[in-house]
């Protein structure tokens, strides 16, 4: 298993500290996905919540630049 470099560990801690200090009611926002996308480079970063029993989406969030619009209900 790969071990995190000192730089990665510092970036991770910095990300967590910033997310903690935001005091927001929703964690997964487009802005947070931009931040997390700086830790792990990707063309698309998204977060989803699904009601597994009823097989229906509850929340879907992506970075603003990844899609034209977010979908959330």
């Amino acid at each position: 298993m790969a071990v995190l470099s000192r730089g990665d560990a510092e970036r991770l801690l910095s990300f967590v500290a910033e997310a903690e200090s935001s005091g927001a009611d929703q964690l997964f926002t487009p802005e947070l996905l931009v931040q997390v996308g700086r830790l792990i480079e990707a063309d698309w970063v998204w977060y989803a919540e699904v009601d597994h029993l009823r097989r229906r989406p509850l929340v879907a969030v992506c970075r603003h630049d990844d899609e034209d619009e977010d979908e959330e209900d």
Binding site: M1, A2, V3, L4, S5, D8, A9, L12, F15, V16, A19, E20, G23, A24, D25, Q26, L27, F28, V36, G37, L39, I40, E41, A42, D43, W44, V45, W46, Y47, A48, E49, V50, D51, H52, L53, L58
Partner: protein
């Protein structure tokens, strides 16, 4: 189609470690699969790294990173996501708690200040983090002069002494009881039965039914000025200044409910 997705099926089965698409299929295998034609090729995704965030069995939460044509996610990316996972879980729970608390506090904010029960959330030392409108009124009326944003000295002393028993404070015929529940103080006002005369009770009975002074005067064979005088006495005894508040006080409900 999710049933054919190699990562989705693992995430839905409750795996809470970072998974790569390439853990299950090579790029060559992916490109020759049915789901590639149906899904991946259409959205231009060939690389995927995803993690399931722990939650109730019915409620699945995923954080997903995708790439088009190009290099796969590395083991460094996977290790970083695995390290991030417990923090995401903690942060999500904290955000959820904040959401619930804000909703509860908003509900408390909507309560009319004449309601007989209020709550105070303590901050550090003797600071008040939050006080519902009835609590603000009760502190103002039972602990004058109150300093905005700080608990009255008497309450601080009671808390410092351990607050094992409820604190009571009397003001006229009104009794305030303060109890501590964790970091919250619950203030409850009780009122001894106002000693209204039979005539005053009769008049208040009709006031509660929406009658005007003139109508009450007709019903009780009194002069309107006599009704008004009786009502002034009722106001004084109940410590209110309006007929709505008088009815509310008598029945122990808020003005908003009475009107």
């Amino acid at each position: 189609m999710a049933d054919e997705h190699p990562v989705c099926t693992r995430l839905h089965s409750g795996k809470h470690r970072a998974l790569k698409l390439s853990d299950f299929v090579s790029l060559r295998e992916l490109r020759s699969s049915r789901i590639y034609d149906l899904w991946f090729s259409r959205i231009g995704v060939e690389r995927m790294l995803a993690v399931g965030i722990p939650s109730a069995m019915w409620h699945k939460r995923h954080l997903v990173f995708e790439r088009g044509k190009g290099g796969d996610f590395t083991e460094r990316d996977r290790a970083l996501l695995n390290q991030l996972l417990p923090h995401l879980e903690h942060l999500w729970q904290a955000a959820r708690t904040r959401r619930l608390l804000r909703a509860s506090l908003a509900e408390l904010d909507d309560i009319d200040e004449h309601y007989a029960r209020g709550v105070v959330v303590r901050g550090t030392a003797d600071d008040i983090e939050f006080a519902s409108p009835p609590a603000v009124r009760l502190l103002r009326e039972f602990f004058p002069p109150t300093t905005g944003g700080r608990l009255p000295r008497e309450l601080v002393d009671w808390l410092d002494a351990g607050s094992a028993n409820s604190l009571t404070r009397r003001r006229g015929d009104r009794l305030l009881t303060v109890a501590q529940v964790s970091d919250t103080l619950v203030l409850e006002e009780q009122k001894e039965d106002a000693k209204l005369t039979a005539r005053e009770s009769d008049i208040l009975f009709w006031v509660a039914r929406g009658k005007t002074n003139a109508e009450i005067a007709q019903l009780l064979w009194l002069a309107p000025s006599t009704v008004r005088k009786h009502l002034e006495n009722v106001y004084a005894k109940l410590g209110v200044s309006t007929r709505t508040a008088a009815v509310a006080r008598l029945f122990g409900i808020s003005d908003a409910e009475a009107s």
